[in-house]
Amino acid sequence: MRESAKSQDAGNGKELNYLDELESKTIYILREAYSRLRKVALLWSIGKDSTSLLWITRKAFFGKIPFPVIHIDTSYKLKEIYQFRDRYSREWDLDLIISRNEAALKSGMSPDKEKFQCCNLLKTQALKDTLDQYGFNGLFLAIRRDEHGIRAKERYFSPRDRKFQWNYTDQPAELWDLYRGQPDREKHFRIHPMLHWTELDIWRYVQRERIPIVTLYFSKNGKRYRSIGCETCCSPVDSQADTIDKVVRELETTKTAERSGRAQDKEDTYTMQKLRSLGYM
């Protein structure tokens, strides 16, 4: 209880600042999941959140991540995403798994057909296949509560059944930091170490730590991406912010939602809930 007050209770003049505290909770969760589950992997979309998570994971494991990093490749990602992935997976010595639903791609699945099915096949199904192939029992995802109302309901350790379904109307209790996470052949856990971060926290952390970030987030010709993914379903927003400092300043005052440029959230009111209940991120 009262984890934030705690560090100030130390009484020795040393105090974690607010970003240290967010980071500390994330590291604790990463190590806890690795300790309890062992067969884990991290989902890296190359966006700012999962790149920050990757950064913190390197810290948690003293520079060498002891498990694979998965990139779900729909083949429709913006080209800067692929360049960034290839550069930093080498530089950070990652054990990278590229997860693609080749069958669906061969049969011509694309966002032009139907966005819901496209996300479901090229992302969720691709992930299912990779999970089956490697037998992971835990997956780290960098989703945050402030991104979407459905994600705000998530637990840090969130069980999924064999069919990948999320039983959101009956989630297990999660008390203090006594997280669940018992290896079980029937299911896997989604672990969400960044759940308590906001978009602004992430940028302040990127700024402080000087984390390399895909340049798509910075303004070119008056537009920048606030959320990145497939070229077909993401659109840039109006912005003059061409540096990290300017992005932080922009977010301190903005009233536009982060995922406003994301088409898959918008098909109808409960698309995100439907996608997520079937195993979407």
């Binding site: 130390a10 607010y18 190590r31 402030d146």
Partner: protein, 412 residues
């Protein structure tokens, strides 16, 4: 605005207006993105209702159709003074485990009471639970004052009733405020209709709260989380629960009482770290290897707790399957995990009425609380919750499901 966020939980009986209050607060403080508001209007229209503020947090289709909150959610908002994390808790008794999950993350509780309906079953139970779990700041809001024509006498009646209940708890309300979340009276500004109230308006009261911070120096407690083999070296990892650990320090590993010396304190990117403090996640190397494993607790020589096989705590039971004397269950406390059995249930209490149901009971049932002594299979390291929180809270599990939540009050 780079300070820590204050985490507040909104609690109270079903339909007393918790989610509406959050919606009102976000709306009034201009914290909603423009499109959230237009979505809200559209969805409300589709369901044939007025603009429903509660839909901001009630995002599940099932929640909106049934007009209830099923699971806890968290929403962020900021004022000029500080940031807040609002935890919305469901008011239905069947979703109590979700409310408790939210309560363990909160620093302040906002108890919402329908002024017309008055103090109800979950009003009392939620107050009891947050008190038991150690949330020690509460603001009480008497909501729906519009439905009682902003009547001062009604407010005074309900306040008196609630205060009588708080006599039984250790937490006391910091403020008791009449409001109407629906009409926006006394939430984010002073209300003319409630000018008789001496209390500040809600947001003003919230902003004025400060958390008391103890300045006493605490002894080292370091629950071991894992052991990593790195380049042939054994690195002990974990988070410092209290105190300080230094390079060169002699430390004691509990429960086996091995004495070892810290060779290095490690974090990534700082090769010359000399010490670490409460809240830091670190790695340690020590002069003797093979002695330490997950679940051990590292402490300082000068101040060592006594490992024990008898733990006494206040327990809240949240499972359909009762806790029975002598039946084995799993106790988890920090990184320790041990088989145990309840050997004494001193009392059995109805968590809503605080009525003493039985002394020396044989079992504890769903939504009951009690003072319980556990005998553990191997010794554990625990502290009173009021002294070191992380070593003073525990859960009882069976088949990997949480069945009970407890706070250590003493060991035998």
């Amino acid at each position: 605005m780079t300070k820590k966020a204050l985490r507040i939980i909104i609690i109270g009986h079903v339909d007393h207006g918790k989610s509406t209050l959050i919606g009102r607060l976000l709306l009034d403080t201009n914290s909603l993105p423009g499109e959230t508001l237009s979505d809200l209007k559209r969805v409300s229209r589709e369901l044939g209702r007025d603009t429903e503020l509660a839909y901001i947090t009630d995002q599940l289709k099932e929640e909106r159709e049934r007009n209830i909150t099923i699971d806890t959610t968290q929403i962020f908002f900021s004022t000029r003074k500080r940031s807040y994390v609002i935890i919305d808790a469901p008011g239905h008794v069947e979703f109590l485990k979700n409310m408790i999950s939210g309560a363990t993350m909160a620093e302040v509780a906002i108890l919402v009471v329908d002024a017309r309906e008055g103090v109800m079953e979950q009003t009392r139970r939620h107050a009891f639970i947050i008190d038991m779990l150690g949330v020690n700041k509460v603001i009480v809001l008497f909501n729906k004052m519009d439905l009682v024509q902003y009547d001062r006498k009604r407010f005074e009646e309900v306040s008196a009733e609630l205060l009588a209940f708080f006599q039984n708890l250790s937490v006391k309300p910091s403020f008791m405020i009449p409001i109407s979340a629906w009409e926006g009276e006394n939430v984010s500004g002073k209300s003319g209709k409630l000018s008789w109230s001496k209390a500040p308006f809600f947001l003003d009261a919230l902003e004025s709260l400060t958390l008391t911070r103890l300045s006493e120096k605490k002894p080292l407690r370091f629950p071991v989380q894992d052991i990593y083999e790195m380049d042939g070296e054994e690195v002990i990892v974990g988070r410092v629960a209290s105190g300080e650990i230094r390079r060169g320090q002699e430390i004691v590993v509990l429960p086996n009482r091995a004495v070892v010396t810290v060779k290095s304190v490690r974090v990534f990117g700082d090769s010359n770290k000399k010490s670490a403090f409460e809240g830091e996640n670190i790695g340690l190397t020590v002069d003797l290897t093979g002695l330490v494993k997950r679940g051990h607790v590292i402490v300082e020589r000068e101040n060592q707790p006594e490992p024990t096989e008898n733990l006494k705590g206040n327990l809240f039971w949240m499972s359909e399957e009762p806790l029975k004397l002598t039946v084995p269950v799993t106790l988890r406390l920090a990184t320790q995990e041990v088989l145990c059995r309840a050997v004494k249930i001193e009392n059995r209490i109805n968590s809503s009425t605080i009525e003493l149901l039985e002394r020396e009971a044989g079992e504890l049932k769903l939504n009951e609380a009690g003072s319980v002594t556990f005998e553990t299979e191997t010794s554990v390291v625990a502290e009173r919750f009021s002294f070191i929180e992380e070593l003073g809270r525990f859960v009882i599990e069976k088949d990997f499901q949480v069945h009970g939540a407890g706070i250590i009050t003493g060991s035998l």
